[in-house]
């Protein structure tokens, strides 16, 4: 059997496709990032590091990094934190746990583009349900909260069209969409925490729920957390659907929501500036691969408690 060459027939197609679809494009992106290539234009000029220089000096791209990092650094901690919180609460309730789990998981299943369009309606300043609901609260005890009273007086934020709120609103939708996914990963992680550890911790004087969490649950969830954080980073770096749905042109009020995937799309596909698009692609891949490498390193080194 060892003499058989069957294995190359089995591995061959996968190898060829990996080469053509995953590896070759990286080389092409790297090569094009040093040129001023555009589709339908026969000659591409070599421009050296010009594209990268633009990315790291021009204010448009400063905004791009700003928007991307703001989004990522809101969505990752919140969706991980809420995912963990929801998992712990669901795990600790006696009843209806599956019910909440189902609800929180719904946004993960729904096409984000569809839900983005719905959110846009819900957040509409005049006919949207969000501001209408907020207005109902005016005159009640909520007005003791300064910000709320301000909203009642001068009108509530415009959310998606407001320069100061836009990126945070988009990030909120990112959290809304993603935390249920993290929740089920944490729920899976929680089932693998041995019960005896809690008893042991109680013996050692862990009285409060917080102690048990700090001493047992959190350390035992280490591997899950590393994975959840990494996958949240990678997913949120790739945000595109919501941004394109809300702002088909230009990336939001004063480019405040001009995230990287949208920048690649706008520069390369809409404006046919392949060189600069390729350079953003390379920087983007750099980020994502760096994160995954860190994750694997962490998984191998630190997080194994058992």
């Amino acid at each position: 059997m060892a003499a058989s060459r069957a294995h190359w027939w089995f591995v061959g197609p996968a190898l060829i496709l990996m080469g053509l679809i995953l590896l070759l494009p990286i080389l092409i992106a790297a090569a094009l990032s040093f040129t001023s290539y555009s589709l339908g234009n026969p000659g591409a000029e070599f421009v050296g590091l010009d594209n990268y220089e633009k990315i790291f000096t021009r204010s448009t791209y400063e905004k791009m990094f700003g928007a991307t990092f703001r989004y990522v650094f809101v969505v990752v901690p919140l969706s991980v934190g809420l995912g963990l919180g929801a998992a712990l609460l669901i795990n600790s309730t006696k009843r209806f746990g599956d019910f909440y789990k189902t609800i929180y998981f719904l946004p993960v299943m729904a096409a984000l583009i569809a839900m983005a369009i719905v959110w846009e309606f819900a957040l509409h300043p005049t006919i949207g349900i969000v501001n209408a609901t907020l207005e109902h609260g005016c005159g009640s005890f909520l007005e003791t909260w300064g910000l709320y009273a301000h909203g009642c007086d001068r009108g509530f934020p415009l959310w998606l069209t407001d320069r100061d709120y836009a990126i945070w609103t988009v990030a909120f939708i990112g959290v809304w969409q993603g935390f249920g996914f993290n929740m089920v990963l944490y729920l899976a992680g929680l089932t693998s925490v041995p019960r005896e550890l809690y008893h042991a911790a109680e013996m050692d004087g862990a009285r409060t729920a917080w102690d048990r969490f700090r001493l047992v649950t959190w350390p035992m969830l280490g591997p899950t957390t590393v994975f959840v954080v990494t996958i949240s980073f990678i997913r949120s770096f790739q945000v595109f659907d919501t941004v394109e749905a809300f702002y088909p042109q230009g990336g939001g009020p004063s480019k405040s929501v001009y995230v990287m995937m949208f920048a690649i799309y706008e520069k390369a596909i809409q404006q046919n500036l392949m060189g600069i698009g390729a350079a953003i692609t390379v920087v983007f891949l750099g980020f994502v691969m760096f994160l995954t490498v860190i994750q694997r390193w962490l998984v191998e080194r630190r997080v194994h408690y058992s």
């Binding site: 996968a14 494009p25 712990l88 299943m109 583009i113 749905a245 799309y265």
Partner: protein, 311 residues
């Protein structure tokens, strides 16, 4: 929302009032969270029932009053006024199917997701089998390559892929929608891990019976891998039914190739004041298949989607 509440261990059960108040608080937090999560679903389904006036004035409750209203477009066509009175819910859903070729979009969505899944399995299964159960020179190198490729999100390399497809003249075709997803290194990895757990005896016995390696894959390994394949199918179908970014890039203009997300986006682009209802109906129709399937087979879905957690 809920992350501010202190976590409680499942091991405690305190008797009396204190216990139930903690439990009540937990449910209060979880219910508040549920309301926020469900809000857009509520808006979507509710608006798909309502007339334009009800949407604008935010009246009519969840289902709307379902009073007849005048379809202005129908009047413009010069029909009799009495024939142009429509029930909101019927109007919304018929317009969703009538104004844009929604059935065609749904059909495209099925063609694309099914083709992607079938090709992924045809490519990944033999490769995974070879990596798990055959010894050959270069096996470690191939597996190393698979692990490296797991680092690459396909969306991130969309631009060079688009250029390649454009050079081959393949943009605006089913091929463009399917080709980049034909290789799933994740699928290979997953199936390999699964095959590692299949006992060698089973394969040896099959070989004794004179089965070829090829038929071992399809007649012995495939049936044992059904649970893993189901999970992978869900993972794959959900990702590609909902995908918007890639179709957006390679399909430009040709409506007959639109997938459901593209169709909905196009609808939004054309929508004027009167079309919110039909648009929400379209959104509901596009989102419904996966949600319904999920509600029917929750456990499997959650397994499938969180499979990536097995890494």
């Amino acid at each position: 929302m809920s992350d501010t509440t202190l976590p409680h261990s499942p091991a405690v059960s305190m008797p009396g009032i204190r216990f139930s108040s903690a439990e009540t608080l937990k449910h209060a937090v979880l219910i508040l969270g549920s309301l926020i999560v469900l809000l857009p679903f509520y808006v979507m389904v509710s608006y798909s029932f309502k007339s334009p006036a009800e949407i604008m004035q935010n009246t009519g409750g969840f289902f709307g009053a379902q009073e007849l209203f005048r379809d202005d477009y129908c009047v413009k066509l010069g029909r009799d006024l009495a024939d142009c009175m429509v029930t909101p819910v019927i109007y919304n859903y018929t317009t969703a199917f009538g104004k844009a070729p929604l059935l065609r979009y749904l059909f495209n969505g099925i063609v694309v997701t099914v083709s992607i899944f079938v090709i992924q399995v045809l490519v990944a299964l033999p490769c995974a089998y070879a990596l798990a159960k055959l010894r050959f020179w270069g096996r470690e190198a191939v597996f190393g390559l698979v692990l490296f490729c797991l680092l690459i999100p396909v969306h991130a390399i969309a631009l060079p892929l688009y250029i390649m497809l454009a050079k081959l003249g393949l943009t605006n075709s089913y091929a463009a929608l399917v080709i980049p997803w034909t290789i799933s290194v994740f699928g290979i990895f997953l199936m390999r891990q699964f095959f590692m757990t299949v006992p060698d005896d089973l394969i040896d016995a099959a070989r004794m019976d004179g089965m070829s390696e090829f038929s071992i894959i399809w007649n012995v390994m495939l049936p044992t891998a059904i649970p893993a394949l189901m999970a992978f199918a869900i993972f794959s179908v959900v990702a590609h039914w909902n995908d918007y970014f890639w179709p957006r890039i390679v399909i430009t203009g040709d409506r007959s190739l639109f997938t459901p997300p593209l169709g909905l986006r196009e609808f939004k682009g054309d929508a004027d004041g009167d079309n919110f209802g039909p648009m929400m109906a379209t959104a509901t129709i596009i989102v419904a298949p996966l949600i319904v399937a999920f509600l029917i087979a929750q456990r499997r879905f959650i397994e499938g989607i969180t499979l990536s957690g097995m890494k």
